[in-house]
Amino acid sequence: MSSYLEGIIMLSGINLIAVLGLSLLTGFAGLFSFGHAGFMAIGAYSAAICTTIFKLPFFVGIAAAAAAAAGASWLIGRATLRLKGDYFCIATLGFGEAIRLILDNFQGLGGARGWPGIPPHTTLVNILILDVIGVVLLANLVRSRHGRNMIAVREEELAAQVAGINTFKYKMLALVVSAAYAGVAGALLGHYMTFIQPKMFSMVKSTELTIIVIFGGLGSISGSVLGAVVLTFLPELLRAVDKWRLVVYGLAVIGIMIGRPRGLMGGFELTPKSVRAHFARLREAKAARADQAAEEKGGL
């Protein structure tokens, strides 16, 4: 495999982890975050501290990244999770920018000039292992009572409350888990690039992640997987068109939103069972259409 292809696969694998986390938050719990790159930054720097300064093994760095991002998200959640919709959105946006500003000013870790010399621990193998773990854990989570409670919060908050669901707690859980995923992604990214710089975790990165989640389809893990792969590869495929690349990218985003009502895989989960059910539904719908057509003719 060429190093180029390998690189893109690695990046989509890394993106995927962050996207999975955000998918839990946005797709399942219905919260919209503009600051996820901030959690990635926390993860990247925490992991780099572990491996570069303290010379600890990589997996310790990854665990530290997850823990640090989760901890930060818990704090920020305490302050902002009671806010609704766009108000929460703004709070996360502010958070993401604030993290970046702190890192920019913190010369101990390189400040805005960045931190080179991080060991290249990230490999295709450890990315793929973490991807699989990430997907399995997330799938397990959303199909448990905890996951269902998050979905209930998204669907109808008041009814969820009255059904005995502590909506604050479940929003927090979704936020913390998704931040931990973002932290892990940050750790992987840092050790893939061997260099981290606050700039890498800008709001553009956060919006990119959100676009992937929605592009893939809200509430669909397989959609997120597909979205992460497609949208990491798409800009690379568009390299040939040079500066028109982002023009096409923008159009593609609009196109999918208006062309695919629920994202690439919205509401649909790719499992053997669902595929069978889908075909069964298709057959039924076809039969129903034929039925209806016959009747309309008869009625005239």
Partner: protein, 239 residues
């Protein structure tokens, strides 16, 4: 006045109306009764342009029905929707003003406003309150009042007595009577079939998307099958 022929409507794969034909003559009160989910609201929504029929034709005052809801309103059909749909962010007063959106003669509008307030004194009391905080019943009154303000010729009413206290249910039916006396034609959908049949001239029975019975209201009310499944205790007690 209104003619519906062989109307088919579907929600995605679910077929809600399967060839409904009906007509409403000028000056009539026509009622449609049917169980939950029979397709009554679907029928009214199709008439007022919110649902695109899969097949069928509709005409109003001899002309084919317009395509968009606002054009249909302009032609003189107004719709009191199921679930009220009052403008929660506007005051009661402004909700009523919205009713008169298409009208330009200020005097007549003012007179209609007076009449609405006298029909529903509660609305006059709450004229400055934002409609979203009204109680369920108050919102229903507002929805009726707002429809009166549009001054259409044909009024479609979707379960106007829904969620109203008995006293008000009585009032609502009185109001339907009054609106009718003002020369308006009414197509009424009601669960309270007993009441509906008693004010209506003619009636249709809708079952699972099909008209299964039609006729003079009194005949329909007397039909044993209808009595059994739609009129319930009230008719049994009354009859």
């Amino acid at each position: 006045m209104l003619n519906v022929e062989n109307l088919h409507v579907a929600y995605g794969g679910i077929r809600a109306l399967k060839g409904v034909s009906l007509r409403v003559e000028e000056g009539e009160i026509v009622t449609i009764i049917g169980a939950n989910g029979a397709g009554k609201s679907t029928l009214l929504n199709a008439i007022s342009g919110f649902l695109k029929p899969a097949a069928g034709t509709m005409s109003f005052k001899g002309k084919p029905l317009g395509r968009r809801p606002d054009i249909i309103v302009r032609d003189g059909i107004c719709h009191v929707p199921e679930g009220r749909l009052v403008f929660a962010n506007l005051s009661v007063e402004n909700n009523l003003a919205m009713g008169a959106y298409l009208r330009n003669d200020k005097k007549a509008v003012a007179a209609d406003l007076e009449r609405v307030y006298s029909l529903f004194p509660r609305l006059a009391e709450r004229s400055k309150q934002s409609a979203g905080t009204l109680s369920g019943g108050e919102q229903q009154m507002l929805a009726m009042g707002r429809a009166l303000m549009t001054d259409g010729d044909l009024v479609l009413m979707d379960e106007p007595s829904l969620g109203l206290a008995p006293l008000l249910v009585q009032t609502v039916f009185e109001i339907i009577g009054e609106i009718h006396k003002l020369g308006k034609t009414i197509l009424l959908v009601e669960q309270n079939a007993f009441r509906a049949l008693s004010v209506a001239d003619r009636a249709y029975v809708l079952e699972q998307g099909r008209i299964v019975k039609e006729g003079k209201a009194s005949d329909v009310a007397a039909d044993p099958a209808v009595r059994d499944s739609y009129l319930g205790a009230e008719s049994k007690a009354g009859g």
